[in-house]
């Protein structure tokens, strides 16, 4: 459970209980069986939307093919009744399992893709299944009735019972979604959506969390599909695997509010009755009016309130309450790692590391080491390969050759999140924040990334915030922080995972002189606590004060190493920075 989540969860659950009871009471007064059917369909599509929202809303992995799972659920339930006389009571859980399996099979290859490619590939799966089903002769399968044991086969004369079941299924789905939203699972997904690389560098195994999200989502979608088949009694490939089905999940969620569990519920409650009624009233004159309404709805929402109704309403009428700043005492709950003595033994040993981009040797045969508790400054002109060196070290890029050992353990060849878990924290040249998350959650990502328990993670994040002096801003969303605060936030995020080594990429870039001094002060304190730091920086006066030793890179090669004073007087270094002429004039 995340900080402050318990209270929020209780509130949401209360709302959920009130809304579903009210809905059922309302439904019990509706006698017309067509309107009752609409009332049953609302929670079904809402559930489907909730399932889509887990992957695509929280996780940002846009899927245009959620009909795959919906259809698998629907066909499983139908075929189970037809061929094995298996009740939907068993068929729906069975469909859920198959939906989960399908999610694994689809996710394994497809998560290699990102952005556009992921969205487009997801589209292809339900359509491929659709054609295969048509080929196999399942154009239209209707569910036989079992008059002898109606209840055992989920057959009820009273249509209100279906509404009840649909609402119960939706409630289960919303609860699962709320639990995800308020746990490390949800935070990992939100972080991945907002900045996948930053999440990886903070120790989040993005691939794994995305996969988990897809599996949960696929199972939930299959349940919605299975129950849908039960109430409509007939399935066709188009009605459960078709494009309009996938679109439905996208539409209700975006309309209602993406990345909030209430979004799909609100969206379905408005759009489903609207589209169904229009279809019934005008369908004969205007076939396809439903699709037009959906199209207009999502375009309208995208242009007017891009995050959906829920967020717009909340931001306009219910001022966002910033969570309470965390009490300082939280921080003391975590045991502080004893400051390691300046043993001088090398913590990181890099040997003849090389990385080329085509013909350009960005990093070439670079060797250096960093002692425990040391601050090593990496300097060099633009394009010297400094950032590339960091990217290779923390697994963003692969190395062509060479080795880098952290305390004797090879770092190269590991994924970015795994390098982080070895104890290597990293900040970026251009700050990579999670702009819509509060500061505390930004830092929590780092703590969760290190695999800490909920309690330790909060304590650790709180301590990291105190270390950088941001404890009073913990409730502010990252988008509202100043550049200095963002730099410190990134530092805190790295610290929250208890790193042994910090890689800081231009931590002072874009800061004014005073701001610079503030950050340097924080770094100096970290040094006193025994932190080992490797820092890239251009500001020489700052580096002269901070670093114990310099490594100078030029054109990907190590030009010089040594004490700051010696390095800045080295002729080769001066030449690299200021050119031969300048040097000649000095000597003259």
């Amino acid at each position: 459970m995340r900080h402050g989540a318990g209270q929020q969860l209780r509130f949401n659950l209360t709302v959920l209980a009130v809304v579903s009871v009210a809905y059922l009471v309302l439904a019990s007064f509706v006698a017309n069986s067509y309107y009752q059917l609409i009332l049953t369909l609302v929670p079904v599509w809402a559930l489907f939307g909730v399932s889509w929202n887990i992957l695509s809303g929280y996780g940002g992995q846009l899927s245009f093919g959620h009909a795959s799972f919906f259809g698998i659920g629907a066909y499983t339930v139908t075929l189970a009744v037809v061929y094995w006389s298996l009740s939907p009571w068993i068929g729906i859980p069975l469909g859920m399992i198959l939906g989960g399996l399908a999610a694994v099979l689809i996710g394994l290859p497809t998560f290699r893709l990102r952005g556009h490619y992921f969205a487009l590939s997801m589209l292809a799966y339900p359509l491929a299944i659709l054609y295969v089903l048509q080929y196999l002769g399942f154009q239209e399968v209707s569910m036989p009735m079992h008059r002898d044991h109606p209840a055992a086969f989920m057959e009820f004369a009273e249509p209100r019972v279906y509404t009840l079941i649909a609402v119960l299924l939706l409630v289960a789905g919303v609860v699962v979604s709320l639990l995800i939203e308020n746990s490390r699972f949800g935070l990992a997904l939100l972080a991945i959506r907002q900045n996948e690389l930053a999440a990886e560098a903070a120790g989040i195994n993005a691939r794994l969390w995305k996969m988990r999200a897809l599996v949960v989502s696929g199972m939930m979608a299959a349940v919605a599909g299975g129950f849908y088949a039960r109430i409509l009694l007939v399935v066709t490939p188009d009605s459960v695997f078709g494009m309009l089905v996938s679109a439905q999940a996208v539409v209700v969620t975006l309309f209602g509010g993406v990345a909030s569990v209430w979004g799909p519920v609100i969206g379905a409650a408005i759009l489903v009755p609207l589209a169904e009624t229009l279809q019934a009233e005008l369908g004969t004159y205007l076939p396809g009016i439903q699709g037009v309404v959906y199209g207009v709805a999502i375009i309208g929402v995208m242009l007017l309130s891009p995050d959906g109704l829920f967020w717009t309403i909340r931001d306009r009428w219910f001022g966002q309450k910033a969570p309470e700043p965390i009490p300082d005492s939280t921080a003391s709950a975590v045991p502080v790692r004893p400051a390691s003595a300046h043993s001088g033994a090398p913590l990181l040993k890099v040997e003849s590391l090389s990385r080329a981009f085509g013909g350009l040797k960005a990093v070439s045969e670079v060797s250096f080491s960093i002692g425990e508790g040391e601050i090593l400054g990496i300097i060099g002109p633009n394009g010297a390969g400094k950032t590339t060196l960091f990217n290779v070290l923390n697994g963003v890029l692969s190395a062509d050759e060479g080795s880098a050992r952290l305390d004797g353990v090879e770092m190269l060849g590991k994924k970015t999140f795994a390098v982080c878990r070895m104890g290597v924290g990293r900040t970026f040249q251009v700050v990579r924040s999670f702009p819509r998350l509060p500061l505390l959650d930004n830092v929590m990502v780092g703590a969760y990334g290190a695999g800490l328990s909920d309690r330790d993670a909060i304590a650790s994040a709180a301590r990291a915030l105190i270390q950088v002096g941001l404890q009073h801003q913990s409730g502010v969303v990252a988008a509202q922080l100043t550049n200095k605060q963002l730099r410190l936030m990134e530092l805190a995020r790295a610290l929250a995972g208890h790193p042994r080594l910090l890689l800081l990429d231009e931590a002072l870039a874009g800061l004014g002189r005073e701001e610079c001094d503030d950050v340097l002060h924080v770094l100096a304190q970290l040094r006193q606590q025994g932190m080992t730091i490797c820092i890239i920086e251009h500001t020489m006066h700052a580096m002269m004060r901070l670093a114990d030793r310099f490594v100078v890179l030029d054109h990907g090669r190590v030009l010089a190493t040594g004490l700051p004073r010696a390095v800045v007087e080295d002729h080769a270094v001066i030449e690299a920075y200021l050119g031969k002429k300048w040097l000649a004039r000095q000597d003259a």
Partner: protein, 318 residues
């Protein structure tokens, strides 16, 4: 005997693959142009194809505006005439919808506005598809030309093995190649082409150089729509279609464009050609219902084996 049939089938698959493939190639260029210049994946491209088909249909068969050209010339001139109509439609779509979620407006935002673009084009696709059902009705129609039922015969090449060249497809093939060449030359050698390429390469820098990037994007979107529409008009001479036809072809377009390297216009053409070939050859061994499934499988394989596509632009700067 068996060899004879095999040779006949393979030869016919080759010729059909080339003719249909080139028409697919033209269709893919439209999508490729939009992606290449604007970095937008247009979900509604299939519906633009559909609009091209219907534009040609109403000009030639339905509205009979072009019926004076006769059943031989009319359908192909109709296909060309679909271009300005759909160009205007595309430009209007861009002006009022697409431009609000793309271009300089979203450059540098959370995900460069991809989310919004996919959603808006999905919305356009839904409206055009279903609105098409209201306006055009759902009964399949076709642009009538006697050419679609006639064929040139080549051979017999080996004993009885003969190659059949459908006349409608053959002429459509030539028109497609012609249009593709004209477009290529325009993009390569004219001022407009340079402006489009500059806007594609670096919109911000292009703006500083005095290029109206918004206008360049509008032209690119209109042009991309028009090219696909011409391909639609050409296809309308040999297939029957309804408002939902775009769906059968949108994946072909994605496959072609991804295969050819998203962003490359020539690549999109070769990609489309390849997909046409694969489709025709799969007909040799697979039942017709599975032909469309093959394309999806090919599409998935292309995307999965080349996660970054056959081009770069995936490397993220850290």
């Amino acid at each position: 005997m068996d060899l004879e049939i095999l040779i006949e089938n393979v030869l016919n698959a080759v010729t059909a693959g080339i003719t249909i493939g080139c028409i697919y190639g033209l269709m893919c260029i439209g999508l490729g142009l939009i992606f290449g210049v604007m970095r937008i994946v247009n979900f509604a491209q299939g519906e633009l194809l559909m609009l091209g088909m219907f534009a040609s249909y109403y000009l030639v068969t339905g509205g009979r505006v072009l019926s004076f050209l006769g059943p031989y010339w009319g359908p192909f001139i109709g296909a060309i005439c679909a271009a300005p109509i759909v160009f205007a439609g595309g430009a209007i779509l861009h002006r009022f919808l697409i431009s609000r979620v793309s271009g300089l407006r979203t450059a540098g935002s959370l995900d460069e506005g991809h989310f919004g673009q996919l959603i808006v084009t999905l919305g356009i696709s839904l409206i055009l598809q279903n609105g098409g059902q209201i306006v055009f009705g759902s009964t399949p129609v076709a642009v009538r030309t006697p050419l679609s039922a006639e064929a040139f015969l080549i051979g017999p090449i080996y004993r009885g093995a003969t190659v059949f060249l459908n006349k409608a497809k053959l002429i459509a093939f030539f028109v497609a190649i012609l249009v593709a060449i004209v477009l290529y030359l325009t993009l390569e050698y004219t001022r407009l082409g340079k402006a489009l390429r500059a806007a594609a390469d670096n919109p911000t820098a292009a703006t500083y150089m005095g290029i109206d990037v918004d206008r360049a994007y509008r032209i690119a979107f209109g042009l991309g729509s028009a090219i696909t529409a011409v391909a639609g008009g050409l296809m309308a001479t040999y297939i029957s279609f309804g408002p939902f036809v775009g769906f059968d072809y949108v994946i072909i377009m994605y496959s072609g464009v991804v295969l050819g390297g998203m962003g490359s216009i020539l690549g999109a053409f070769w990609g489309g050609l390849t997909v046409g070939f694969v489709q025709q050859f799969s007909a040799l061994i697979l039942p017709p219902q599975l032909q469309n499934a093959t394309i999806f499988v090919v599409f998935l394989m292309i995307v999965l084996l080349r996660p970054q596509g056959l081009f770069g632009r995936s490397a993220e700067r850290a």
